[in-house]
């Protein structure tokens, strides 16, 4: 059974699992919107933390051009009309090996491609913020 006590101004409730299994009578307002990379309008959210420093770094403009071209591309396959934008982005990135170059000693394919890492881990782009706590949250939520 749940129990309750008062210590000065502080109230303490020990709630049993059974008690908390009864649905809450409280209705909360809708959650705060949490915009991802693509807004509901279909536009790109360049301030999405999931992009890390990509849109803000030294090749940010080139990245944005390439990504926009792809995003709005109606070609088949999508993005096949973006050759020039991709090339420009790649040329920029080649000037910043410390930023954009990845491991060259990689066992995987495409070892020379600086963006390969993204293709492999793009699902992690969702992570809006990644402080230690989130990772603990991640652990905790894993089981649920």
């Amino acid at each position: 059974m749940s129990s309750c006590k008062q210590v000065g101004k502080d109230k303490i409730i020990f709630a049993t699992k059974e008690d908390h299994e009864v649905p809450s009578s409280v209705q909360l307002p809708d959650a705060e919107p949490s915009p991802g990379l693509i807004l509901s309008t279909g536009e790109i959210n360049w301030n999405c933390p999931c992009l890390g420093g990509m849109a803000t770094g030294p090749c940010g403009v080139q990245f944005r051009d390439a990504f926009s071209c792809f995003h709005y591309s109606e070609a088949e396959p999508k993005g096949s009309d973006c050759y020039d934008a991709f090339k420009t982005m790649q040329e920029c990135m080649s000037k910043y090996p410390a930023l954009y170059n990845k491991d060259n000693n990689d066992d995987d394919d495409d070892k020379d491609d600086p963006l390969e890492a993204l293709a492999n881990s793009s699902d992690s782009l969702n992570e809006t913020e990644q402080k230690p706590i989130e990772h603990r949250e991640a652990i905790a939520s894993k089981g649920s």
């Binding site: 909360l28 990509m54 170059n101 990845k102 600086p114 993204l118 969702n126 913020e129 652990i139 905790a140």
Partner: protein, 643 residues
């Protein structure tokens, strides 16, 4: 949530497309990147192992994770090495990308085994290393006084600092970083000049009192910390190559961010839109942000002490302080006293006590309040926390103030108001911070009498074309009223908002920042809103059953966070960890605490309950009187079992 999945898919498709028609392959194999590359490899390999449920996990987190840039914002698009870069002061090898590594699963069995093995190895290595260095340090110590904290200037002369800039950010911490990321996102070709009085590029401070001390083994790579999942990352938000040299900024067609380090702005002519550096160099700006942060306070008893005593007393705030403390600990001390029972004091006490068990020093924590975090947590929980801190090996002396201080050969003797005397070879004062508002008077800016900090409106604006963010800001929260907040996440949130507003967004402060703290394996919490122990509270805790003790879950969770390399990483079994709870099943293992002002919930602590921040935000936004907060607590699902 839908958006997040789509986001991932979208970028994946973009890359696939890019790859398929990519005209050339980059073949940069500069030898200099080799060292980093190996690190990157580790990160990347784990990245490829990601399972599809990782996507599920990401989306699960999403609602609770406000869309801000943070510390951790991993930059998965860039190659792993880009995430960290040595600062110029040290030739540090570049660490790899942070969190995007392995699926964050609780594979304790496997991780533990590896962790224990690693711990054993690293302890041995550390022991050997420690022995070697201790001797040298001792020899050096005799003649060496503490280094003075004088920042090195980059560039060395102000002539190389632009004298005209669109965006000027004063201060080089988290709020400033968050602001320039926002500015560059919204104004892609923006030219941003950051003036920082530290010698470093912008970096994150929270690990300085947490993860940095959990790193095992010799610090071959300083300023890198190991995350709970074992991967390493840099303290620096962006590596050096991200930034544009001050001299070149003017001519960059696509703009960029430059950081003048070691420089101080002494005055702003707000109407004339000019900032004056310490040497009278003038910088004309169009939009300016002040994000000068805060500085640790000292106590008069130490400020007035002799030079010999002051040599053994330090404050703790930045990389310099961290490195200095590390050096002191390596120098073979036996006892450290920490003054202060708040976040910094308590976190440092726990972190150092843990390390001290291996390195042979003891930690005493002295503070005024009756329990740890006494100004944040309700008293009963504060007492309980102190018990846990003691279990971490910290000698806790509450209800005490240092009245006098003297020197006894090599130790500082602290005379407490209780009459007790405590001696320690080194003293760390962690009694809070004060906002850096030195610019207020010369620039004729208003500060807040009650909270301190520059006074700004809900859009973080102080005057035309001048915004203020982070610790030094007294802002108007449209929900909770006037506030000043000294937390990392607030720097992120307010910096981001200021950046948006500097590019014309005109948005008010609506998105609440949060904060978190960890004290040993059994106490970890997150909080949001006004969390002040002087307010009435209602705490709802999960009543434990025989088979489900929250504590066992909690310790597992926290141990995971603390990396498997901890010697004690093994989940504590319920039987051995029970600290004689008040009654059967009545323990403060897991719960949610509501802070009330006029019966309205204004703050929430999630006590060993994770991934519920979005629910807490909804409750705060509701601004409503609840008849029964236990009903609200149900929404937090505090009994959830975590295998």
């Amino acid at each position: 949530m839908y958006g997040t999945i789509r986001c991932a898919t979208h970028v994946s498709n973009f890359l696939r497309s890019y790859k398929s028609i990519s005209p050339i392959k980059l073949a940069v194999t500069a030898s200099g990147t080799r060292l980093y590359a190996n690190k990157g490899n580790a990160g990347k390999q784990s990245g490829t192992k990601k399972s599809s449920d990782n996507i599920a996990r990401d989306t699960t987190i999403r609602p609770s994770t406000p869309p801000h840039v943070i510390a951790g914002t991993c930059k998965p698009i860039m190659s792993p090495p880009e995430c960290g870069k040595p600062n110029v002061m040290k030739e540090v090898p570049q660490p790899e990308c942070p969190w995007d590594g392995e699926p964050k699963q609780r594979k304790y069995g496997k991780h533990l085994a590896i962790g224990i093995l690693l711990t054993a190895l690293s302890l041995f290595a550390f022991y050997k290393y420690g022995m070697d260095t201790t001797k040298k340090e001792v020899e050096k110590k005799q003649e060496k006084r503490r280094k003075e904290k004088i920042p090195v200037k980059f560039p060395a002369t102000s002539k190389e600092i632009p004298s005209k800039i669109r965006y000027l950010l004063i201060g080089g911490g988290t709020a400033s970083f968050s602001a320039f990321r926002s500015i560059k996102s919204l104004d892609p070709k923006a030219k941003v000049l950051v003036i920082s009085n530290e010698s470093f590029y912008p970096y994150m401070r929270p690990p300085l009192s947490k993860e940095m001390w959990f790193n095992e083994g010799p610090h071959s790579k300083p300023l890198v910390f190991r995350q709970w999942n074992g991967t390493e990352r840099s303290l620096f938000y962006e590596p050096e190559d991200f930034y544009v040299d001050c001299k070149r900024l003017r001519d960059e067609p696509n703009g960029g961010v430059s950081v003048a380090r070691g420089w101080t702005v002494k005055k702003i002519d707000v109407f004339g839109r000019k900032a004056y550096l310490e040497d009278d160099h003038v910088i004309e700006y169009e939009k300016c942000l002040i994000a000068t942060g805060s500085s640790p306070k000292n106590l008069p008893v130490f400020k007035e002490a002799s030079q010999d005593i002051q040599e053994r007393v330090s404050l703790f705030r930045d990389i310099f302080d961290y490195e200095e403390l590390e050096e002191i600990l390596q120098g073979g001390v036996k006892k450290i006293a920490i003054i202060g029972g708040g976040f910094l004091g308590s976190e440092l006490a726990c972190a150092l006590a843990r390390r001290g068990q291996n390195q042979g020093y003891k930690i005493t924590q002295i503070f005024r309040e009756s329990g740890n975090m006494g100004r944040v947590l309700p008293e009963y929980l504060s007492f309980w926390t102190t018990h846990k801190v003691q279990k971490e090996g910290v000698e806790v002396i509450p209800n005490s103030e240092v009245e006098d201080v003297s020197l006894d050969t090599n130790a500082v003797v602290l005379h407490l108001n209780s009459g007790e005397k405590v001696s320690a070879e080194h003293v760390i004062v962690a009694v809070g911070v004060e906002p850096n508002t030195q610019l207020a008077e010369p620039s004729e800016l208003e500060t807040d009498d009650e909270f301190g900090g520059y006074l700004v409106n809900a859009e973080l604006m102080a005057r035309s074309n001048l915004w203020i963010a982070g610790d030094c800001t007294c802002f108007y929260d449209t929900k909770l009223g006037r506030r000043r907040v000294e937390h990392h996440d607030h720097a992120v949130v307010s910096g981001r908002l200021a950046g948006e507003n500097m590019t014309g967004a005109g948005k008010p402060y609506v998105h609440q920042s949060m904060f978190w703290s960890d004290l040993g394996p059994e106490v970890g919490y997150e909080a949001i809103g006004i969390v002040d122990s002087s307010l009435p509270t209602v705490g709802v805790f999960a009543k434990a059953t025989d088979k489900d003790t929250p504590k066992s879950v909690v310790s597992e969770t926290d141990e995971g966070n603390r990396a498997a390399s901890e010697a004690k990483a093994k989940p504590v079994t319920p039987a051995t960890s029970s600290p004689s709870p008040p009654q059967d099943g009545e323990d403060y293992g897991k719960g949610v605490i509501f802070y009330l002002r006029d019966d309205i919930v204004v703050g929430i602590v999630l006590w060993n309950v994770f991934n519920r921040m979005s629910v807490a935000r909804q409750v705060l936004r509701d601004e409503r009187k609840y008849d029964d907060l236990n009903e609200v607590a149900k929404l937090f699902n505090i009994h959830e079992e975590q295998p």
